[in-house]
């Protein structure tokens, strides 16, 4: 075997270059770290996470997990993370709806619908998000009437400058039992769907429509079982009623949450609208015409021909919009929503542990983003063109 001089071996050189690059990068990181530590030591400060177990001694206005001022900084940061996750998940769900509707509207042949969607996209995409958030918060939500003069909507829901109140379900003692029934019912639906698909594949014919009734079988059984065995319904409706200074009962969206949600959903929705429009337009018109000439209905054309191809174009940029929404939620601090960034800011101001807290924040946002993109990539792999 002919051994080449190693410095002419392209593969070796490539590995060498990468190794050198990695070493330099590591040295640079080490330098930055020691520089920080040395400069802090000069002022008698150290880097470490010991402070995390100290009591936070500040309160947080809005929290989905129990929190008191006597809890630790760690707990406070967790509250912030949960708040960020809640706004991100709700926001991503709603913005998808808004974006798809606006994107389809952009393609509508109805002049008014089309122009309205175009105006929405044009205005929202071309103004900074922070200004929109300020607008929603100071310009819209805080301008709503006070609690005593609340705008009442059917439901009853109330719009006030203290928040938006709406009826909500409250868990009763039988909630836990009912939860099991629901899980069993959902599981049966998934199972039947798999079964049908296997049957369809074998017979290469669509299953008769009335077979779909099988889906209802187990849920019906579970409802009967629940009604027979459980004394009361799992959820009790609570209706917001005015008591004292504020409304009690029902679901309350704080002004901060509502403004942030509106702002993020509408802003990201405008971008998603354009992505959806691009995706649909990327499928050539000839395919629609071909599908129609084969006798497929409009719905079938959309479902079987256009969407599968459009999704390939839509999913990757959609992922980055989802990530944007989650990251943009850190602007919440401007309007007082206690998200991760806001609480972390308070913590580092109280403890002086700027570097440690920034690391925590970066890691949190990074893992959030990575998890989102992993999920979206899994979905993308399912819809993308299968190459043979």
């Amino acid at each position: 075997m002919n051994i080449k001089a190693f410095w002419r071996d392209l593969r070796f050189l490539q590995i060498l270059a990468q190794a050198i690059f990695a070493i330099i990068f590591a040295l640079f990181a080490l330098y930055l770290y020691s520089n920080v530590v040395a400069n802090l030591a000069k002022q008698g400060l150290t880097v470490g996470y010991g402070f995390m177990d100290n009591p936070a001694s500040f309160d947080i206005g809005e929290s989905y997990i129990p929190f008191e001022a006597s809890d630790t900084y760690q707990r406070a940061l967790l509250v912030g993370l949960v708040n960020t996750l809640v706004i991100s998940v709700v926001g991503i769900f709603l913005t998808t709806v808004v974006g798809v509707v606006a994107g389809v509207a952009r393609l509508s042949s109805n002049w008014l619908v089309n122009k309205l969607a175009a105006a929405y996209v044009g205005v929202i995409r071309n103004t900074p998000l922070i200004i929109q958030l300020m607008f929603w918060y100071f310009g819209v939500i805080l301008q709503l009437p006070s609690v005593k003069k609340a705008i009442a909507l059917p439901g009853p829901a109330y719009l006030t400058n203290r928040g938006i109140y709406m009826p909500w379900g409250e868990a009763t003692s039988t909630f836990a039992a009912w939860r099991i029934y629901v899980i069993i019912a959902l599981f049966s639906i998934v199972l039947i769907a798999f079964l049908f698909r296997a049957l369809e594949r074998r017979s290469s014919l669509p299953t008769p429509l009335w077979w779909n009734l099988a889906y209802l079988l187990v849920p019906a059984l579970m409802i009967w079982l629940g009604a027979a065995l459980q004394p009361e319904s799992p959820l009790k409706q609570t209706i917001p009623t005015l008591t004292g200074l504020n409304f009690k009962g029902g679901l309350r969206l704080t002004p901060e949450f509502a403004a942030l949600l509106f702002g993020l959903v509408l802003y990201t929705g405008a971008f998603i609208a354009e992505i959806v429009r691009a995706g649909i337009q990327s499928v050539s018109k000839g395919q629609t015409e071909a599908a129609r000439s084969l006798g497929l209905t409009t719905g079938q054309t959309l479902r079987l021909i256009i969407l599968p191809q459009a999704l390939r174009v839509i999913i990757p940029p959609l992922t980055s919009q989802y990530l944007n929404l989650a990251k943009n939620s850190s602007l919440a601090i401007a309007i007082g929503y206690p998200d991760l960034f806001s609480i972390a800011g308070t913590v580092f101001n109280q403890t002086g542990a700027a570097i440690e807290i920034i690391m925590v924040m970066m890691l949190s946002y990074l893992s959030m983003s990575l998890i989102t993109s992993i999920l979206m990539n899994i979905y993308n792999n399912r819809v993308k063109l299968v190459e043979r």
Partner: protein
């Protein structure tokens, strides 16, 4: 990526890293001017912070020299707090805290305008001092144990004795002396990153009154939200409630400041720990202004005091003695401060007089207040 591009890219990175390494000294020892690089927060150049021979901790003197060489003081202040630190639409800075920055500039350079102001948020202010981005912080910052011990700061003489208070709408609180009980279940606007936020939690917990905080990063945003009716009450230092209340709120008369004193808030300048010489310079300028008021020396009559026979006055104004030089300043530094900026009382009247903020604890000790300068001798 195409191979050539990659090679080019790696070369670029290597060169830039090498350059960065050349420009920076070894982490612990002395060396050329230090470039403090922090990956995330700020990239700040601290020109010549650590000259060669000086051992890093408690060295002293470098900052004073740096400032003198630079020819101006970099002063961290509030940017949107009328009465204390405010920059107007023409870019002119004004306010009580701002005037102290001018005083240090006057002491060092005989020019009250040799200041570079940095408007800092409540959250960024201490990091700015730690990293040396500002020479001195004069931004209504409360002197606390934690900040002194954990944040690596040295606080100066208290320039303003403040206390936290809470303001509510008159329709909710009818009796200012009634205490916090009237605020049961209230929503309270507060600024993040302040001692106020902590005291709020402590005081309501101690009084057993439930509340819900709404936390803003910006004080003005908190006041606006309160004005729009988002909160039932707003809490801050008494001075802030009075000044901001008059400056921001639509109708200040509709609001009442409760008679509850929720905390002690001694406000004063802060410098980075470990440079006593610079800290001394900062401190004695403030003391000089207090002493001058006690002696009745004002910017208008200071020249006539130069011929005074009183040894205290003569020492203070640098007519005799070498006390200024011992601090590394000129002997007449107090004279410059009084001439160009004024004494403590003048600064107070000029900035806080328009807000009808009574001197109270901030009066001279001779008038029953807490303002007291150590002897100039």
């Amino acid at each position: 990526m195409n191979r050539k591009l990659f090679a080019l890219f790696s070369l670029l990175v290597i060169v830039s890293v090498a350059l960065a390494a050349c420009g920076a000294p070894p982490p612990s020892g002395g060396g050329a001017p230090v470039t403090v690089k922090e990956t995330v927060i700020v990239t700040v150049e601290v020109p010549g912070e650590a000259p060669t021979a000086a051992p890093p901790p408690a060295a002293g003197g470098e900052r004073l020299k740096t400032v003198l060489d630079r020819g101006k003081v970099i002063c961290g202040v509030h940017g949107s707090f009328q009465g204390f630190g405010f920059v107007d639409s023409a870019g002119a800075w004004s306010g009580f805290d701002v005037e102290f920055c001018r005083a240090w500039a006057a002491a060092l350079f005989n020019d009250a305008n040799a200041v570079e102001f940095r408007g800092l948020s409540a959250q960024a202010r201490f990091t700015a001092v730690q990293t040396g981005e500002v020479d001195v912080l004069s931004r209504n910052s409360t002197w606390t144990w934690t900040r002194d011990a954990e944040l690596g700061l040295t606080f100066g003489p208290v320039t303003f004795y403040d206390g936290q208070a809470i303001m509510a709408k008159k329709e909710i609180v009818t009796d200012a002396a009634g205490g916090l009980k009237a605020l049961e279940g209230a929503q309270v606007c507060v600024q993040s990153g302040t001692t106020t936020e902590l005291n709020l939690a402590d005081q309501f917990r101690a009084a057993g009154v439930s509340y819900e905080p709404v936390v803003f990063e910006d004080q003005t945003a908190a006041f606006q939200a309160y004005d729009e009716g988002r909160c039932d009450a707003i809490t801050s230092d008494r001075s802030q409630l009075a000044t901001q209340g008059q400056a921001v709120l639509k109708n200040f008369a509709d609001h009442v400041i409760l008679d509850v004193v929720m905390s002690k808030e001694p406000l004063g300048p802060a410098v980075a720990q470990g440079d006593d010489k610079w800290a001394d310079a900062v401190h004695w300028v403030v003391y000089g202004m207090i002493q001058a008021e006690e002696l009745g020396i004002t910017s208008a009559n200071v020249d006539s005091f130069l011929t005074s026979e009183d040894p205290v006055v003569r020492r203070l104004l640098g007519v005799e003695g070498e006390l200024g030089a011992k601090l590394g300043l000129s002997n007449d530094f107090i004279y410059r401060v009084i001439k160009l900026v004024g004494n403590y009382g003048e600064v107070y009247e000029r900035n806080l007089g328009p807000f009808n903020l009574a001197r109270g604890q901030n009066d001279l000790w001779t008038n029953g207040g807490l303002m007291y300068a150590p002897p100039f001798r």
